[in-house]
């Protein structure tokens, strides 16, 4: 049963990761694949705060989220001031560099990993309670992102993606929107990291590298960018598929590369055969309930 719980938790965490990543790369059009590093920052901060300083777990998870949010701004502000393309390179440098750095810090476990992270809920209420917590938070994340992208902020992100120059000529600050969305997405990933840390109770720098990046990217691309359910479906499908492979009892030296091959191969397949993903996004942005006259005239226009 524990096996099922673990898979459910992983699905929930990856729904959070994929949805927040879709907010950044899909809705806002920011090219970065360093999402897992903010997941890692959240995880490590939360783990250290609760283990070393005895903070209550929920508080340390929140601090992890805030830490990831601030770290993302640290990367985004200098990179975005130059141009959008640099964010990608800066963020990859940040991701791989930070992983390299973490391997050398023995205070946080170094390359061997951080162990004995305090657990949460499980002792008192059983694993089911943690599953419920993660799945509820995953649902809230999906709803939050849907709410944000279908509101006036979503209209703004859509316009910015279309034409940044025209966007700023209307009085909108494109850099601020990008930094803000990048920070929100990364902050959410940080919270997911905290949730990961206090369930699995073990963290190691290498698990947040490029393999993780391609996994999350695959979920978004395969599921369908800029859709509410796309990243959710992507996360579920891609979380279950590797589980199937584990039944073949392959040696770990084959299993790792095989999973990587599967993830990257799927992205390549979808990029060329079905670039819109399983759930294609509509090409016209529609906000939530266009009120009053507008809704009326929409109906008239259609009839």
């Amino acid at each position: 049963m524990d096996y099922v719980f673990t898979i459910l938790i992983l699905i929930g965490l990856f729904v959070i990761l994929a949805s927040s990543f879709d907010l950044v790369i899909g809705h806002c059009g920011l090219i970065s694949i360093a999402h897992p590093i903010f997941y890692a920052i959240g995880a490590y901060i939360s783990a250290m705060l609760s283990k070393q300083y005895g903070l209550p777990v929920p508080v340390s998870i929140l601090c992890g989220g805030v830490g990831a949010l601030l770290a993302s701004a640290l990367v985004a502000v200098p990179a975005l001031r130059v141009s959008g393309d640099y964010l990608l390179i800066a963020s990859i440098g940040f991701q791989l560099g930070l992983i390299e750095l973490a391997k050398h810090f023995h205070e946080i476990g170094g390359a061997g990993g951080l162990t004995n992270i305090p657990s949460f809920l499980i002792k008192d209420f059983g694993r089911e309670s943690y599953v419920v917590l993660v799945l509820v938070l995953a649902a809230l994340t999906v709803l939050f992102i849907r709410w944000l992208t279908q509101g006036p902020y979503g209209r703004m992100m859509t316009a910015m993606r279309d034409d940044e120059l025209a966007f700023s000529m209307l009085g909108r600050n494109a850099i601020w929107v990008k930094v803000a969305v990048f920070a929100i997405g990364s902050g959410i990933a940080g919270i997911a990291g905290g949730l990961y840390a206090h369930y699995f109770r073990f963290l190691e720098p290498d698990q947040f590298g490029l393999l993780q990046s391609s996994a999350v990217l695959t979920m978004v691309v395969v599921g369908g960018m800029r859709t509410t359910m796309g990243p959710v479906i992507g996360a579920i499908v891609l979380q279950l598929m590797p589980q199937v492979i584990t039944f073949f009892n392959l040696p770990p030296s084959i299993l790792g590369p095989l999973q990587g091959l599967l993830f990257t191969g799927l992205v390549l397949f979808f990029m060329f055969v079905r670039p819109q993903g399983l759930l294609p996004a509509a090409d016209l942005w529609v906000g939530r309930k266009q009120q009053g006259d507008a809704g009326q005239s929409a109906k008239e226009a259609r009839s």
């Binding site: 790369i25 059009g29 090219i31 694949i33 200098p78 990179a79 130059v82 141009s83 393309d85 640099y86 990608l88 390179i89 800066a90 990859i92 440098g93 940040f94 791989l96 560099g97 930070l98 390299e100 750095l101 050398h104 490029l210 393999l211 391609s214 990217l217 691309v221 030296s253 084959i254 790792g256 590369p257 095989l258 990587g260 091959l261 990257t264 191969g265 992205v267 390549l268 990029m271 060329f272 670039p275």
Partner: protein, 312 residues
């Protein structure tokens, strides 16, 4: 504490080892300039070049030069596949820059995993031994690897320079780099030129990987870090400036290798990411010499009689 002999030894060795860094950076900068792509798939090309040479020498027991040729063949083949089945298709579909970039990144990861499946994750070299006989030149140990490596790099750079300057295809390449649509109007087959620059970059990185693989151990994921080094050099050298990238690569190579004088060796790997990050934050447009004044002046001079601003 630093004796002159030690310092000059380290400087020489780091200069020699920067030879392959230069090749990786030049290839990356060339593709960025001509094809307008941050080609992270270069890591995949590098991996293919290395393993083709490895198969030739270590598995088929061919002599070194045959392995060298096989290595180039491997790199070129992978470049061809990427351009023909990847970039060309995406171009035709008018895919966004983000899409193309993700493609390069995922393609390089895909190749790395495929190679891991075939060859495992254990590091290897092209020749069974990576120790080279050493000659003392004025107190500095010069290995039998150093001189051919530097010579090969110089030959490649000179060849590339001559190619771009004097050959028709090279000039076409610069024309496409300048303005692809205009070049096409003048009858240059854009797709052919873009393929050519890709393949050329494939040749250059394969030579670089052969140099690297005869001196250091390589595993499937190693190419990514080597390529990130090229990215840092390209940014520092000023985007669009191939020779700037080459110089930046030498400087970064020497700094990284000689850093052993100042910091523990465990931290050397981290230095690369520091370079990358600082390159972007501090020198986003590269170190630039003042631009040469373009002599193309607008010739039309406004007639004096009309400049009183009142008309007639």
């Amino acid at each position: 504490m630093f004796e002159l002999a030690v310092v000059s030894q380290i400087l020489w060795t780091s200069f020699a080892t920067s030879s392959y860094f230069v090749l990786f950076a030049v290839a990356f900068a060339l593709v960025l300039k001509v094809n307008k792509v941050f080609n992270f798939a270069q890591a995949g090309v590098m991996t293919c070049g290395f393993y083709a040479a490895y198969v030739g020498v270590r598995i088929l027991n061919l002599p070194g030069y045959a392995g060298f040729m096989l290595g180039i063949g491997g790199g070129v083949a992978m470049s061809f596949v990427l351009e023909y089945f990847g970039f060309a298709v995406l171009r035709q579909r008018k895919a966004s820059a983000m899409f193309v970039f993700i493609f390069t990144l995922i393609a390089s990861q895909f190749i790395a995993y495929a190679v891991m499946m075939i060859f495992g994750t254990w590091p290897t070299t092209i020749f069974a031994s990576m120790f080279w006989p050493v000659t003392m030149v004025g107190g500095i140990a010069v290995s039998a690897w150093d001189v051919p490596a530097i010579a090969a790099t110089v030959v490649v750079l000179t060849g590339l320079w001559a190619f771009l300057k004097y050959s028709r295809n090279g000039q076409f390449m610069l024309a496409v780099a300048d303005n692809a649509d205009l070049a096409e109007l003048y009858g240059i087959q854009k797709d052919r030129i873009l393929m050519l620059s890709m393949v050329l970059a494939g040749v250059i990185v394969s030579i670089g990987m052969f140099l690297y693989g005869t001196r250091a151990q390589v595993q499937a994921a190693a190419a990514t870090e080597l390529m990130l080094f090229a990215v840092a050099a390209t940014i520092l050298g000023g985007i669009g400036n191939i020779w700037g990238a080459a110089i930046a690569a030498v400087v970064l190579g020497v700094v990284q290798n000689s850093s052993i004088l100042f910091i523990p060796s465990a931290w050397q790997g981290f230095l690369l990411f520091a370079f990358l990050f600082f390159a972007i934050v501090l020198f986003p447009r590269g170190f630039r010499l003042p631009e040469r004044r373009n002599t193309l002046k607008r010739l039309a001079v406004a007639p004096q009689a009309l400049s009183d601003g009142k008309g007639h």
